[in-house]
C-alpha cells in the first residue's frame, strides 16, 4: 500500500491521532499528515533524536528498541521503528496506548508492502500467444 494511503487510513480509523508521519531512518519524510513539509521534516528529525536518546538511555545492545511512548501533560508522542522506516504519531493527553501502538504498527507494515502486480489469467496468456503467432 502507498504510505500516504496508509496514513490516511490510520487517521480515519484512530480518532485519537492528531498528526502522523512515516520517515526513513535518515529523517527523510515518506508521507505525513502535517500541514507542510518543513514541519513534517522537523518532527521526523525530532522523533529520530528521541529514538536515539531512548536507545541510549534504555538499550543494552542485546535487544532492539522497537517502540517509544513519551507522555506529557500536553499530549503524547508515539514512535514505532520498522525495518527501514519509522512511524510517529501525536495524540492528546492520556490516549489508549495499546490501541495507538497497534494502529501505528499496522500503518507502518501496510506502507512497507509492495503493491501486487496484476496476475494474467491462463486464458489471457493463451490469447496473447495466439495473437503473436498470427
Amino acid at each position: 500500500m502507498d504510505a500516504a494511503q496508509a496514513l490516511a487510513d490510520l487517521t480515519e480509523i484512530s480518532t485519537q491521532i492528531q498528526a502522523a508521519l512515516i520517515a526513513d531512518e535518515q529523517g527523510a519524510v515518506v508521507a505525513s499528515t502535517f500541514a507542510d513539509d518543513t514541519s513534517a521534516g522537523e518532527a521526523a528529525r525530532s522523533a529520530l533524536d528521541l529514538l536515539a536518546a531512548a536507545e541510549d538511555a534504555g538499550g543494552n545492545g542485546a535487544v532492539h528498541l522497537t517502540q517509544v511512548l513519551a507522555s506529557t501533560h500536553a499530549g503524547s508522542v508515539f514512535v514505532v521503528r520498522g525495518e527501514e522506516r519509522i512511524a510517529t504519531a501525536v495524540t492528546g493527553p492520556e490516549p489508549t496506548v495499546g490501541l495507538v501502538f497497534y494502529d501505528l504498527k499496522t500503518c507502518l507494515r501496510l506502507s512497507a508492502e509492495r503493491p501486487e502486480k496484476p496476475r494474467r489469467s491462463r486464458k489471457q496468456t493463451k490469447k496473447d500467444e495466439k495473437s503473436v503467432d498470427a
Binding site: L50, A70, T72
Partner: protein
Amino acid sequence: MRRALRWGVVALGSAAGLALWRRSSGKGRERVELYFSDGSMVSYPEGSTEAARLIPLARQVLTTARG
C-alpha cells in the same frame, strides 16, 4: 444544614479518593515508556534522569506537529 454538610463531606472524600487513585496509577503524570524486541518494557516516570532527558525531545515533536 446537616444534609448539605453530609453531601459536602462525601464530595470531598470522593475527590480525595480520585486524586489518590490517579496518583497511585500514574495517570496524569509525565512518563516515557520504551518497548524492546524481546517484549520487555522500561518505564521512566516524571522526575527520573531519563525522563528529564527524553521529555523535552517529545515536546519538540508535539510543538512542531501543532504548529
